[in-house]
């Protein structure tokens, strides 16, 4: 039942992305709006699926690759929606929705029952840790999407492809807006990520007796954290902005996705088979 709901949600995500993209390419009244409506429907279904899981587990559904992908997808889409409607970058939704569709579809093919937490590993810190980490990751992912839009717009302006009114590219937000929204997302994502790491560390201390282990995912996470710390420093203190900052953000997101999905799939280290039966 739940995987089916997820797949239907994925369908609506794709539909919404398609409509939104079409609306951006050949503006016609209502197209963009139906895109938003479709994504809204998809998110409702998606939330329903997560609720089903929560009822089944009797706790937050944040354990294992199935719930992780699904939860991450919903958070990312909610953020994208916020950036699209409030942040002035509507294109983010058309970029994010297909990505979320793929994640959700992927999630629906993983057996949600393959991983359950052993009772002695249950702790409030686990939920805090996973929740914060997912939110931080989602924020960075959207920052990456915004940076991609920035790079598209910047490339267009540098190559002097100025008048392309029928392709919708000219409807992209200004560089100023894209740069500012990207920076703001990282400014939010960084403390979230930091808190995620700290809570994970506290959780580790509680169940394994050690604050930090050099398992592969921890190692990559630490590197990504360092990368973002440097980037924020460069942006705020040194005045890096624009293209360089956007490229770095995208690289950071790729590293993050590798850490999150790649290693998660491989199921290695404490984040893998160790803590689930």
């Amino acid at each position: 039942m739940e995987p089916l709901v997820l797949r239907i949600a994925a369908l609506f995500y794709l539909l919404g992305a398609g409509r939104a993209l079409l609306g951006a390419l050949r503006p016609k009244e209502g197209r963009a709006r139906t895109g938003f409506v479709a994504v809204g429907l998809a998110m409702t279904l998606h939330l329903g699926a997560l609720t089903l899981r929560a009822v089944e587990l009797g706790s937050f559904p944040v354990v294992g690759i199935h719930d992780g992908l699904s939860g991450f997808g919903l958070l990312a889409c909610a953020l994208a929606l916020a950036v699209a409607t409030r942040g002035g970058v509507p294109q983010v939704l058309s970029f994010t929705a297909p990505m979320v569709a793929v994640l959700v579809l992927l999630a629906s093919f993983f057996d949600p029952h393959s991983s359950t937490i052993q009772p002695h590993l249950r702790s409030a810190w686990l939920y805090v840790h996973i929740g914060l980490a997912l939110l931080g990751d989602a924020t960075f992912a959207i920052a990456g999407v915004v940076s991609i839009v920035y790079l598209v717009q910047e490339g267009r302006l540098k190559r002097k492809q100025l008048a392309t009114p029928t392709t919708g590219l000219h409807n992209l937000p200004s560089l100023e807006v894209l740069d500012r929204v990207g920076l703001r997302l990282i400014q939010w994502g960084f403390p979230l990520m930091t808190l995620g790491l700290l809570s994970g560390s506290l959780y580790g201390r509680e169940v394994w007796g050690s604050y930090w282990t050099w398992d592969p995912r921890n190692t990559v996470s630490a590197l990504v954290w360092l990368l973002y710390a440097l980037m924020l420093h460069a942006r705020i203190m040194v005045g890096w902005r624009g293209r360089k900052a956007a490229i770095l953000t995208v690289l950071g997101v790729i590293a993050l996705l590798v850490a999150f999905i790649g290693l998660g799939l491989a199921g290695v280290g404490t984040h893998g088979k160790d803590y689930v039966s």
């Binding site: 100025l162 008048a163 029928t166 100023e176 902005r241 293209r243």
Partner: protein, 452 residues
């Protein structure tokens, strides 16, 4: 009532001829009165702009005859011989005349396709005609319709989108980089005419400050005063560049005024805040290599011209859509006026029949001395029923003809057969025009289907 549009425009006549004609009609009130004084001409409107002088006429008789009257007027008002004017004149009759009006109002006939001024000019011309009392029932129906069509074209096609002039293109470029030009700082390098124009345009959009830097400080001060900015010397260029967000350059210098080495230094000290250069000078002021620097965007005259050209060609593509809309509107308008044509006949016929039925019922009731209200009601209903049943097919046919075909002959037939008195639209006072005016614009039938 027949409709005619005729005149000269930038497509058909040289400027000298347009000037003479514009001059001859410069006092609109007089010109309209003279036109209306001619036989056959009952309504007139004159649209006179720098690109066109056009006459929209309505009156009795064939449109060609109206055209002859117009030529008579032109000859006497302008002093030009009609043989000199005629080859440059166009004339559209009936539906085609209406189509022309729709196209003009929608800016489809303009020199710069989609330019917004023409609609206002046509509106003003119509208001002038109304004031002069020369806009009767026909023009009062046709012009507002044209304004609606123009609005539809504007909102449903991209014909009016995108800048088609250099200074607009420059502002649009700025909007791609900065969220808004309001609050930004503008530097004008060189006190040329082009940069003054662009700077004024930016000023209107609410930029925070404008600095003018010129080799001669006098000229800089002059321009700065004109556009409400401050004057500086070109020697302070480096400092000025650090502060500016948008630089508009148009010096007469033979070489580059801003080179890459200088700008590389400046952009670092700006902490990579983006900067836009609009180089309007030929030869160029800004080394194109400057644009290779991060966060520096440089556009020259050719780039802007490219934008303008491309936007123009896009408008041309959008014009096809606009023509389709004009065709649609034309068809629906003609259909509507035809159906309006049958309304007075229907009213007259029904009114006559009902009053006959009532009179007969009254007579019968008097003869029978009926006292039972039920019987009385039945008799009245019967009389009405007979009349309604008899008229039903007639009215149905009339309505159908009104919607699709040419109802004129049926209208005439019914008028004769039933001895109907139909109020004529021409005699109707303007206040009543809503209910009983008729605009049969039915020449060239079938040509109004364009594109549908």
């Amino acid at each position: 009532m027949r409709f005619l549009s005729a005149g000269v425009s930038h497509r058909t006549a040289p400027i000298e001829l347009r000037e003479k004609l514009a001059h001859a009609t410069s006092n609109l009130e007089v010109a309209l009165a003279q036109l209306r004084a001619r036989p056959l001409v009952q309504e007139a409107c004159i649209v006179s702009t720098c690109n066109r002088v056009e006459f929209y006429l309505a009156g009795e008789g064939e449109p060609a005859a109206l055209g002859r009257e117009l030529r008579g007027f032109i000859q006497s008002a302008s002093g030009m011989r009609i043989v000199d004017v005629d080859p440059h004149m166009y004339q559209h009759e009936g539906i085609e005349g209406l189509r022309h009006l729709f196209r003009v109002a929608s800016s489809l006939d303009s020199m710069v396709l989609g330019e917004p001024q023409i609609l206002g000019q046509v509106k003003a011309a119509f208001v002038a005609a109304q004031k002069a009392g020369s806009a009767g029932s026909t023009l009062s129906r046709v012009f507002p319709r044209a304004f609606l069509v123009a609005k539809r074209v504007r909102t449903e096609t991209g014909i009016a989108e995108n800048a088609v002039s250099m200074s607009f293109a420059a502002v649009e470029l700025a909007r791609e980089i900065f969220q808004s030009v309001a609050g930004k700082s503008v530097l004008v390098v060189g006190a040329g005419k082009m940069s003054a124009l662009a700077a004024k345009h930016l000023k209107n959009l609410g930029v925070a400050e404008i600095r003018v830097a010129n080799r001669s400080i006098e000229r800089a001060t002059e321009l700065a005063q004109e556009i409400g900015g401050t004057a500086s010397s070109l020697q302070d260029l480096e400092v000025l560049l650090q502060k500016a967000d948008i630089v508009i350059s148009s010096t007469a210098a033979p070489g580059f005024v801003v080179e890459k080495r200088l700008m590389a230094k400046v952009i670092r000290s700006r902490r990579y805040r983006p900067i836009l250069f609009v180089d309007l000078a030929v030869p160029r002021d800004i080394d194109p290599k400057v644009g290779e620097l991060e966060q520096v965007f440089v556009y020259d005259v050719d780039d802007l011209q490219g934008v303008v050209e491309q936007n123009r060609s896009t408008r041309t593509k959008e014009a096809a859509d606009a023509e389709r809309i004009v065709g649609e509107e034309l068809t629906s308008f003609v259909r509507w006026t035809r159906s309006q044509q049958v309304v007075p006949v229907i009213k007259a016929l029904r009114g006559k029949a009902i009053s006959l039925a009532e009179a007969e019922a009254e007579r019968t009731l008097g003869l029978l001395k009926v006292s039972d209200p039920k019987v009385e009601q039945s008799i009245r209903r019967m009389a009405e029923g007979v009349v309604n049943k008899l008229l039903h097919p007639v009215l149905t046919t009339l309505k159908a003809e009104g919607a699709e075909g040419d109802p004129a002959h049926i209208v005439e037939l019914l008028r004769v057969l039933f001895e109907l008195e139909i109020p004529s639209s021409e005699e109707a006072p303007p206040a009543k025009e809503e209910q009983d005016n008729v605009v049969p614009i039915d020449r060239d039938r079938g040509q109004g289907q364009g594109g549908t």
